[in-house]
């Protein structure tokens, strides 16, 4: 408990015993005892926290002992970093997209922007549309995670003669290291970026190479579609087949219910996507994916992550969600059928956000699933976050009740984004949950990490 100077009036003190007075500093003391910090709404970012990403702390942050978080806000492509020191004190820095890329007049971020973090190189990428001056072209920005506002590479604008194709906003981004394919050669230190937008898949070899001009140097292919409104959701890159090479997974589903109630998870070999250099306006067709998983929902792959639930197995598991049916699927290595994790509450958008990481220190990642439209204690769309532990080929919820806001309000949308951030001081991963206009950081999580990462107690 923090010792504070007690301020009380004499009469209040006299009456306190029987009349119910209490010292207001008590509440400051109590708030210092809690182990969840809520940071909210810096600057003018109305929907601060639509996406969250975390990178290992470095000396470039406050003290190298805390965590380094990237938080996307929605207004005018607001980007923030939320940096913690080892003692839990934080600093928030924000910058608007316009300041980063002054040539573009940005619109607001979409509610579910394409966003990815490269924790190794401390970079993050996000996708959006340019402003009206560029007629709303698809756009990808790659930023230095340690130096807010510094672009790692020039902005990539998907501009071409086919305006319809140009104006497709990215829906999924993944950092990757891909083998050479087609006409493309991998330069390891420059890295690759895989972007899904519309029905297309864009693979940017050596994306950090500033010499690569816009709309050139992309390997782009157009996936086969049978329905007019069928487009991609999230994209993920990992060794999903156990062949030692990365695969590209992408969710595809209709945007209109008139186009059916099924969607697919398509897993491509790199060679099935990367053929030759192409232009945005004249993409080649992708080869059929080597694996297709049909899901009885319109939004399979709305969010996807990969994880190694069995650390001894190099093949990654693919986790993909279908929030419309409150279900998250886990395709474990070697398994014929995915494991379906679901909750009985309909309309909760269970699976809207996903994260996988080891929270309890057993080297086996936990699966964190956001359900931002869960109703809590009669409060509509207050939101909840479910945490599952993997063991024996099954997932079990860590606590009977999901995480929630202790004092919920309607449309809090708690769980609309989730991230697992390594805490520099202890190496402990901490859970970070985004909600409408705010971010919750759990310095302690009973049942997973009982010691407060700030104090070790």
């Amino acid at each position: 408990m923090v010792t504070r100077t007690r301020v009380s009036l004499g009469l209040a003190g006299l009456l306190a015993g029987g009349a119910g007075a209490c010292n207001w500093t008590t509440f400051d003391d109590l708030s210092s005892e809690v182990w969840v910090e809520r940071v909210g709404n810096p600057d003018d970012s109305r929907q601060y926290g639509v996406a969250l990403g975390a990178m290992p702390d470095t000396a470039k942050t406050l003290d190298g002992q805390g965590a380094n978080l990237v938080v996307l806000g929605r207004a005018k492509l607001m980007v923030s970093t939320l940096r913690y020191g080892g003692d839990g004190k934080h600093a928030v820095s924000s910058v608007g997209g316009q300041a980063i890329f002054p040539a573009f007049m940005f619109d607001d971020l979409p509610a579910k922007p394409a966003f990815a973090v490269d924790p190794t190189d401390h970079r993050f990428a996000f996708g959006s549309l340019t402003g009206n001056t560029l007629a709303g072209q698809g756009f990808i920005g790659v930023m230095d995670g340690d130096n807010l506002g510094v672009a790692v590479a020039p902005a990539r604008v998907f501009i071409g003669s086919d305006m319809a194709l140009s104006m497709l906003a990215p829906t999924g981004i993944a950092f990757a290291t891909l083998p050479d394919a087609g006409n493309f050669t991998n330069t390891p230190e420059l890295g690759e970026l895989v972007v899904a937008r519309g029905s297309q898949l864009d693979v940017m070899y050596d994306y950090a190479n500033a010499a690569i001009a816009d709309a050139s140097g992309f390997a782009e292919c157009k996936q086969a579609t049978t329905r007019a409104t069928e487009q991609s959701f999230e994209v993920a890159v990992a060794d999903l087949e156990g062949d030692g090479a990365p695969e590209i997974a992408v969710g595809m589903g209709p945007r209109s219910a008139a186009d059916g109630t099924t969607s697919e998870i398509r897993i491509y070999q790199v060679g099935e996507v990367v053929k030759d250099q192409s232009t945005v306006s004249l993409p080649m067709n992708c080869d059929p994916p080597s694996t297709t998983i049909a899901v009885q929902a319109i939004d399979a792959g709305f969010t996807m992550v990969t994880a190694h639930f069995d650390p001894a197995v190099t093949q990654a598991a693919l986790v993909y969600s279908a929030p419309s049916i409150n279900t998250v699927y886990v395709r474990l290595p070697g398994a014929t059928d995915p494991i379906a994790i679901t909750v009985p509450t309909t309309g909760s958008n269970f699976g809207y956000a996903l994260a996988a990481g080891d929270l309890d220190g057993d080297a086996v990642p936990e699966l964190v699933i956001g359900a931002p439209k869960s109703d809590i204690d009669g409060t509509t769309d207050a939101g909840a976050v479910y945490i599952y532990r993997y063991a024996g080929g099954a997932f079990t919820q860590v606590t009977p009740d999901p995480l929630r806001v202790s004092s919920p309000s309607a449309s809090d949308l708690f769980g609309k984004s989730v991230a697992i951030a390594p805490w520099g001081k202890t190496g402990q991963n901490v859970l970070v949950v985004g909600a409408e206009g705010k971010v919750f950081t759990y310095f302690r999580l009973p049942g997973l990490y009982d010691d407060d990462v700030r104090t070790g107690r």
């Binding site: 009469l11 209040a12 009349a19 007075a21 207001w24 509440f27 809690v34 809520r38 806001v405 759990y442």
Partner: protein
Amino acid sequence: MRLRILLLVTLVLALGTTRRAAAQGDPWKNAQSAFNQGETYYLSGKFDDAAASFKKAYEARPMPQFLYNVGAAYHMKGKKASEPESYDKAVDYYTRYLGENKDAKDKEQVEKVIAVLKAEAERLRAAAAAAAAAATQPTNPTGTQPTPTPPPAPSAEVEALGDAGYRGLVVIESEPQGANIYIGGKEKGPFAQTPWSGSMDGEFQYLVEKRGYKSKEGRTSADPSKLLVLQIVLSEEDYLGWVEIKSNVPGASIFLDDKNVGAIGKTPFSGNFKPGKHKVWIEADGYEPSEHDIEVIAGEAAEISAQLKGAPVGYLYVRGPGIEASRIYLDGELLCERGPCRKPVKEGRHRVSVRRSGYKSYSTTIEVQAKTEINLKTELAKQPGRGDAVVAYIFTGLFAGGGIYLGLQAQKLEKELKDDIAAGNPPVDQADPRFDRGKYFAIGADAAYGVAGLLGLAAIYYTFRDKGRPSIGVVDVRALALTPTVGPNYAGLSMELPW
């Protein structure tokens, strides 16, 4: 009480221990009978018969009043018939009355009557002689007898005296005689000794007391035109003791056994006391009280002779409008249940307070000196209303109530948060709105208590502050002058108070 001349004896009373004079040979019975007869004759204008009856009454009991009544009867006879002989008789009996009643209070008046009647008798005789001389003259030529001369009218002096009236009489006798008579209370001192006769008018209380005899007391009424005889037979007292109390200061108040019942009399004093031990206080203004323990033995006499010494005390006299509803305190002790209050006060500095419900109290410090009297005249001011204090108290209550409510709300939130923090699920975040809400409630409660406290202090101030005009008092100091005083039965010091 006025002394009057009695003309008739009408009543003999024997009250309680008085004995009715029933025997035929009782002189009072005969006197009463003759007095009643004389009254009847007198009222019917038969003055010679009335005079004869009053003479019989005198023969039965030689009371000077009866002689006066005889004189009065002849006075009226002489006036009616213009008889010098009757006037002579009237002068004779009036003179005898004065001769037997040396201390007659109407002596001067009676002597004036005598002089007038004597002159009238001489005038009538001179007139009669003149008339007789005229009668010896020769008859008139016609031989007719002269017309008889009517009796002369009373002179203007006689007419100026008016009609003479008979007088009643009050007689108090005891057996044995020589008992003290007290009228209207013993504290006034002895009125006379038996036998006593005189005039009284109206109802009166009497006490007849003689050493060695039981005291007798009663109440009766007297008519100035009747004869009232109180014959009191005192029985010998064999279970009371006779006590005589005197002091060097005459008129000192005597208290027996309990001061609260008031003084039983003033010195010099004598009376029967019940046998046993008694405590007697003798007090006089300006003197230290004298306290005596006596043991009264039945049938024996005891005497207290008090030597009062001048005391180092002064007097405090508190008065003023509404003082009868006020309490007077001296040095915090109740001095008088109500005013006006005059009490001896020891020398020195004292604090006097005058308190009355609904009025502002008045207090002052006085310096009392021996043989002085401090006259404190107070005028208490009405206690003003306390509406402002009531309003302040109400607001104090409202703010205190608000503080309590807010404080309870804050405590409720505090408990809720503590419980939630302890439970850990849902984990409470540091920006939980309940922290701010609880803090606002707590600050609000403290502020409300603070305001309530200030208002409470204001209310207390309003309650006790002195507003409106104050109660006032005027102190006046007067010396109590002790002067040597000598009287027929006493000698000592006395003082005169100027109010």
